[in-house]
């Protein structure tokens, strides 16, 4: 019975309201942060940084944003990539047009652009609900695709619509090594995750969830649907916008509107559903699943093929990859429809009872 809260009495509401009321959890999280900030840089290779860790960290951030809207407030959105795009192009415009603007304000300004865009496209949610809203949010997606391709001003008149940034500096330090970029993104993620956690366990978080679970009842106890929904759109698209700006600035360096296509919107939605709707932890799990699994599969499958003595062509590998990916999604949903985070907490619950089954 390693994992037990017995004997850990809470003597004040403050201590009961901590993010991790159980000591073992606190230790685990501390360790995790230590590994992420200190351990990883000790051994990670450039490939690990640029292809796995940085995308994972940025996508976690985006998934966190999506989770606020979809998981906590219950407004399914298929336009998340559009918010990322607005964040990225918004930040780009500030960066390119205001010489010497530091990176962090740039990212925040990008986030704010996305926030306004999000609120604008969140307005229909006051009337339109559920899947209707989900499909309607695609309007944001296709509009942004078009806007950044067609309106040259947004791309600083680059003839192809592709833009790029370089020589990024943060607080005077150049972000030229993958490790620096990783640590920068990770710090942002840690800070924002903490803020989001505070929000969702506070009053506004409860308003969002109330709207999600039963909007009529929520209205009766005095929650304004408009405020709750639009604030969720605002917070969510701000975070997604920041993530978009990071994706463009830090991960891609140079991007075109297609980098934020509808495909990405879908992937973001998968992340939160697979990870667990309404769970901060779930956003990380989901991002890990969606970012890492395809890469892992594309690297593993040929090796597996070799083991059983068949040489798989790249085409076959990518087909098998698609099939495995689809199959795994279904399999995880069957095992636990509420996502990996739920699986995790059930695991913890079992651990709590261990060695007894119930």
């Amino acid at each position: 019975m390693l994992y037990r809260e017995n004997g850990q009495f809470k003597t004040s509401y403050r201590s009961d309201q901590q993010i991790f009321p159980i000591a073992q959890d606190r230790i685990a999280i501390g360790l995790l942060l230590a590994v992420a900030f200190v351990g990883v840089p000790l051994f990670a290779s450039e490939y690990l940084y640029t292809s796995i860790l940085i995308p994972f960290v940025i996508m976690s951030l985006a998934a966190l944003g999506v989770n606020v809207l979809v998981g906590y407030c219950g407004q399914i959105s298929l336009g998340s990539a559009a918010f990322m795009a607005v964040g990225a192009y918004g930040a780009y415009n500030f960066y390119a047009r205001i010489p010497g603007l530091p990176l962090i304000p740039t990212l925040i300004l990008g986030g704010l652009c996305a926030m306004f865009f999000g609120i604008l496209f969140g307005l229909p949610s006051l009337r339109v609900k559920g899947l209707y809203l989900a499909v309607a949010t695609l309007a944001a997606q296709f509009f942004s695709d078009w806007m950044f391709l067609r309106i040259q001003w947004f791309t600083n008149d680059s003839p192809s619509g592709s833009v790029s940034v370089n020589n990024l500096k943060v607080l005077g330090m150049a972000l030229d090594s993958p490790m620096a970029r990783y640590l920068f993104c990770l710090s942002l993620l840690a800070v924002i995750a903490l803020l989001v956690k505070n929000l969702v366990r506070g009053a506004i978080g409860r308003e969002w969830m109330a709207i999600r679970d039963m909007d009529v009842a929520a209205a009766v106890i005095g929650i304004r649907p408009m405020y709750a929904k639009l604030s969720a759109f605002a917070v969510s698209s701000f975070i997604i916008g920041m993530a978009g700006a990071l994706w463009g600035f830090i991960h891609l360096g140079s991007w075109e509107p297609a980098a934020f296509s509808v495909e990405l919107s879908f992937r973001l939605l998968f992340m939160v559903i697979i990870g667990g709707l309404g769970s901060v932890m779930g956003s990380f799990f989901g991002a890990a699943f969606i970012v890492i699994l395809p890469i892992a599969l594309s690297r593993l499958l040929p090796t597996l093929g070799d083991l059983v003595g068949i040489e798989l062509s790249t085409a076959t590998v990518s087909h098998v990859e698609l099939m495995t990916f689809g199959g795994l999604i279904v399999w995880f949903l069957i095992v636990e429809p509420h996502g990996l985070a739920k699986l995790w907490s059930m695991g913890k619950q079992k651990l709590r009872l261990w060695p007894f089954p119930h």
Binding site: Y13, R14, D16, Q17, L195, V196, N198, L199, G202, A203, I204, R206, E207, M209, A210, R212, D213, M214, V216, A217, A218, A219, V220, I221, G222, I223, R224, S231, V235, G278
Partner: protein, 261 residues
């Protein structure tokens, strides 16, 4: 038997009519509710009891009539205003927030009272944190009062029906309402549990002086605890008065109570 002080009229329902397509859910209903009293609404299924509460709450907009609350008259209420004025409510078909724990459900009842803004909440700096803890303390009192300490952190969806009804009540209480509208709070409970629920209702009424409007089908409960009873029958009011009087009214017996009572 009536030793508590019943005050003036706080809630006055005037000539309310509500139609849904061809269904006349309410026809020209008027009644009043006095401060501190327990006012019951009874009537057969589909009589329009829940619809009446929905009109008071601003969930439905009646085609005719008005509602006066503490001197202010409305013909169309907005849910938020109603809540701000201090009218709380429980629901017939459990309208709890399924994905949230018991504590969070009850905490949402406090949301009207939260002062800190979204940024302060995100940072959880001093005042926001203190506020949160103060509300939490209040909610713990309600939890104690309703005796659901053991289920604090359970997601409400997993609770048995009877306990969910208690949480529903808790959420309404958290609003510190002046008037509490209860829609069949005791349905699906056995006698023992009904007794508990009655105790809660009476305590609330007594200790906080909360005015209560109660819909209930258990005549034992209604007759025992209410001060006055309104009887609806298919949208029309067919009786209004003290429990004794209502119990003996011919109309009411025919339409609702049947002979066995």
């Amino acid at each position: 038997m009536n030793h508590k002080k019943i005050g003036d009229v706080v809630l006055d329902v005037n000539n309310i009519s509500l139609r849904f397509g061809g269904v006349n859910a309410l026809t020209d209903i008027s009644f009043d509710v006095r401060e501190h009293e327990i006012r019951s609404i009874i009537g057969p299924n589909g009589a329009g009891k829940s619809s009446m509460l929905n009109c008071i709450n601003g969930v439905y907009t009646p085609q005719q009539g008005s509602i006066t609350f503490r001197g202010q008259t409305f013909s169309h209420m907005n849910s938020r205003q109603v809540a701000e004025m201090g009218i709380g409510r429980t629901f017939q078909n459990l309208a709890l927030f399924k994905g949230m724990s018991v504590i969070d459900n009850i905490m949402t009842g406090r949301n009207l009272k939260i002062k800190s803004n979204i940024l302060m909440q995100a940072l959880r700096i001093g005042p926001a944190e203190r506020e949160e803890i103060a509300h939490r303390e209040f909610v713990e009192h309600i939890i104690d009062f309703l005796e659901i300490q053991a289920h604090r952190k359970t997601p409400v969806g997993q609770l048995p029906y009877g306990l969910q009804k208690r949480v529903d009540l808790g959420r309404a209480l958290a609003m510190e309402p002046q008037v509490l509208l209860l829609d069949e709070p005791m349905a699906g409970m056995n006698v023992e549990e009904k007794q508990d629920m009655c105790r809660f209702v009476l305590d609330v009424n007594d200790e906080f002086g909360t005015t209560i409007v109660l819909i209930e089908h258990d005549m034992g409960v209604v007759m025992d605890i209410s001060d006055r009873v309104v009887v609806l029958d298919y949208g029309k009011k067919i009786g209004d008065g003290e429990p004794e009087a209502v119990r003996n009214s011919e109309d009411v017996i025919a339409a609702y109570l049947g002979t066995s009572h």
